[in-house]
Symmetry: C2
Amino acid sequence: MRSPDELVALFRENGRKVTPQRECIFHLLHNNRTHPTAESIHAEVVKRMPSVSLKTVYQTLHELEDMGEISGLDLGTGSVRFDPNQSVHHHLVCTNCHTVGDIYLEIDSLQLASKVLQGFEVGNAEVTFRGLCSDCKRLGNLI
Amino acid sequence: MRSPDELVALFRENGRKVTPQRECIFHLLHNNRTHPTAESIHAEVVKRMPSVSLKTVYQTLHELEDMGEISGLDLGTGSVRFDPNQSVHHHLVCTNCHTVGDIYLEIDSLQLASKVLQGFEVGNAEVTFRGLCSDCKRLGNLI
DNA sequence: CAGTTAGATAACAATTCCTGTAAGTTAAGC
DNA sequence: GCTTAACTTACAGGAATTGTTATCTAACTG
């Protein structure tokens, strides 16, 4: 995702309006590696601007998603997570605490032989690793 | 997933009761490669037994899941899909029509170097390919 | 720099997918 | 055939998200 300042300019170029609510969301997403949900972003926004509705947060997140600035990830944790990290990477999902980590992989086998694809045109490939994060693993050993 | 007859026996062994509703669901799942949702299974069940509730379908599907006979898949298509195919495979999800196909892959690179995992203990790795299925691709070309 | 207006916001209701509850019904073992 | 745990149904409820609408405001316009 671009910097908040660049997003402001980009929004104006696209005929979208720049509101304080949106700027707040831009800042909260910038360099954010926590894979936040709309709900968690909203919780942070509300600390600064108490009247902002969840709907506004969803709308802004979806606009950023449509513009390719962030990705919505459905990792089976109940709600969609938003990721401003647009470099190619994959995810580690803790089956216990549901935190999401990033992992950078070169997966040669993902260059698939066309025969196995049977006409399917691949846009992208996501790899999701499920297991225990280091914290939950450690706690698990203690119990 | 095992055959309907085997499931009947297995349910009884496990102290679960075998009802006509459940047997109907067993048959609908057997050799089913369509990755049905609870809703779509229910639609089929109702054709044969009009009074069956969606709740009953969910309950039976979850029991089969708990027994390891089917897998629940959250592929970001809105609802959970159930897959009786228990061999190791991955999925092709059409971003247009949301149908789900199977793909069999050997992914050597998924034997990850422990350094990139930073203490994360991997249980399993799922690969989801998103793109256009052959039907949607063809239609896309025509439009 | 006030007026205009497309677009954004907030409050609220609705939707979708799924789960909890409670009361009636049935399969399996005796 | 009786008992009882388990199943089924109807219905309510819940979480995540989206639709609606009236109000408001950013940014353009003169």
